[in-house]
């Protein structure tokens, strides 16, 4: 009980640390606000007065104006709506790919670390082999085997970028396995999967959350790069990356089409990374406040 209470207190103190760091970091607050706005826009897009599909050929390539805040594109569609709907796709891919990649990574990491022995060796060899293929090459090759589109890009990013998370989680599981409460649970005969679910995963949760926030940033970056190369999201659906691919052809007369989605990608990735960094205070309080970085 005493240990539990101490743990609770410690948790509370750590959360307070994170909150106070957040208060003192204006950029972090800005990041948080930005993400809330972007996510809200993406979620609410269908009920907002936005129309990304109506073409209006008399108003092609209109620069930003009060009527069309972000201008219009090559066939006169309202670019603001296109960018918001593109954000829906980019964020959706980011979230779902991150969830897939975290789930696979945590599963492999905990099983590998907890079971040890030949299971561990086999899983870690798989991780070694998969991480020895440059990610850009791996992801593009896998996209060859799937029909291009939203689903396959989520699968490609989710199932082929989990190796780093698996390594982190495995390392933590290895040390958790030696803790008294885990040893005791094992001793009284609680099955392995229950121990992993009840004792190990809650303890590695902070690491997982940090990995998740950088995971979203990476997934959004990968998706936009792939879509830019024409290997990701396909027409008529669009994401920030495919909007940029389209904008590339019209750069000379409509540079705003290239600037806006790009700027949103940069800000979103920056914000997710920033918040991920802030959460690190929760996991490594000493490291962050001490001299070491």
């Amino acid at each position: 009980m005493i240990v539990m209470a101490k743990n609770k207190n410690d948790q509370k103190r750590r959360i307070e640390n994170v909150l106070s760091a957040l208060k003192h970091d204006k950029l972090a607050i800005a990041s948080l606000v930005f993400l809330v706005i972007i996510i809200a826009l993406a979620l609410l897009a269908p009920i907002l007065p936005l129309d990304p599909n109506t073409t209006d050929v008399r108003n092609m390539f209109q620069p930003p104006s009060p009527e069309h805040w972000f201008g219009t594109d090559d066939i006169g569609r309202d670019y603001l709506s296109r960018v918001i709907y593109g954000g829906r796709v980019s964020l959706l891919v980011g979230f779902l790919a991150m969830i897939t990649c975290v789930c696979v990574g945590v599963l492999v990491g905990t099983v590998s670390g907890y079971c040890g022995g030949w299971i561990d060796s086999i899983l870690m060899r798989i991780v070694d082999i998969m991480s020895s293929i440059p990610w850009m090459v791996l992801v593009t090759v896998i996209s060859l085997f799937l029909k291009r589109g939203l689903k396959s890009i989520i699968i490609v990013i989710g199932f082929f970028t989990w190796m780093e998370i698996a390594r982190l989680v495995r390392a933590e599981t290895l040390s958790l396995k030696e803790r008294e409460y885990v040893m005791y649970a094992k001793f009284v005969g609680i099955p392995g999967y229950v121990i992993i679910l009840k004792h190990i995963i809650p303890s590695v949760l902070p690491t997982i959350i940090i990995a998740a926030s950088t995971g979203i940033a990476n997934a959004i970056m990968t998706e936009s790069s792939l879509s830019f190369l024409g290997l990701g999201i396909q027409q008529p659906m669009s994401s920030w990356g495919s909007l940029l691919q389209n904008a590339q052809s019209y750069m000379q007369n409509a540079i705003y089409m290239a600037i806006l989605p790009g700027l949103l990608i940069v800000l979103t990735i920056f914000a997710f990374n920033k918040l991920g960094n802030l959460l690190r205070i929760f996991v490594e309080p000493r490291v962050m406040s001490g001299e070491k970085d």
Binding site: S225, L231, L244, M251
Partner: protein, 317 residues
Amino acid sequence: MAKYIIKRILAAIPMVLIITVICFALMNLAPYDAIDAMTTPNMSPETVALIKAKYGYDQPVYIQYIRWLDGLINGNFGYSIVTHQSISADLAIRIPNTIKLILPAYLLAYVFAIILGLVAGSHKNKWADKLIDGLCSIGIALPTFWVSMLLMYFLGYKLNILPIVGMHTIGQENSLIDYFRHFLMPFIALFLSFLPDATRYVRSSTITQYSEDYVMVQQAFGASKAEIMFKHVCKNVLLPIITKLGMALPMLVTGAIITETIFGWPGVGPYFVKAIQGMDYPIVMVILVLSSTLVILGNLLSDILYCLTDPRIKDLG
């Protein structure tokens, strides 16, 4: 230590072999194969069988694999199923082009990263550090292809001072100035994409070094700041960076796929992307095997370098 190195080399060989097996399996599982590319539906079954026999596709899979592997080892990478050209001949032109672009960008990025990282790390939480670290966070969030687009727009279209695509203007293949003008934009884009990560790395290892006891001892003995920096911290920060260079080996082939594609630089990037879009499996698989082998070799090289430069690791053997 020799024992350690030999052990590492022996562990690397099966990894490379497994990767070739995976690649070959992928090539066979692919929904569309080399035979489909070379034949048309109008051909008679006899002709198709003849073509199959000519390229060895009538043999059992494991014999095909051994022949393919044998080819890889002897530098015969097979033929593109779209253009029917020898992949080794194509790569022999394209890899040097990629290296010409990446190597200068990578080296310059590291020189800058070392300077900026040391400055930031030694002034932790001062304005210089905050500025450099802040710029790095932005730099990491910048997609390379977007930077390339903006460079193209501003330097290429708006100011019209640099050519937008390619490596040479037609008719000026031997002009060094012309080459340099084409080289500059992709070079800047790559330089900017390498810089932030490298700077972060140098900065954090500088900070770690400054928190070591030996720095405090030096300070206690009244050593000047410059002395601590250049005599002690520098050495300890730079050694691991030299070993990190081994990991850059695979970059020499696949480090600039996006940048090269955008700027139409005739390196491995556009070749690979075109192969992917055209489902040209033999090319894709060769690049896959080549780049993964380089990753494994690179890790091996950097482990060995580490072992050579840091005497503390020697007894791990």
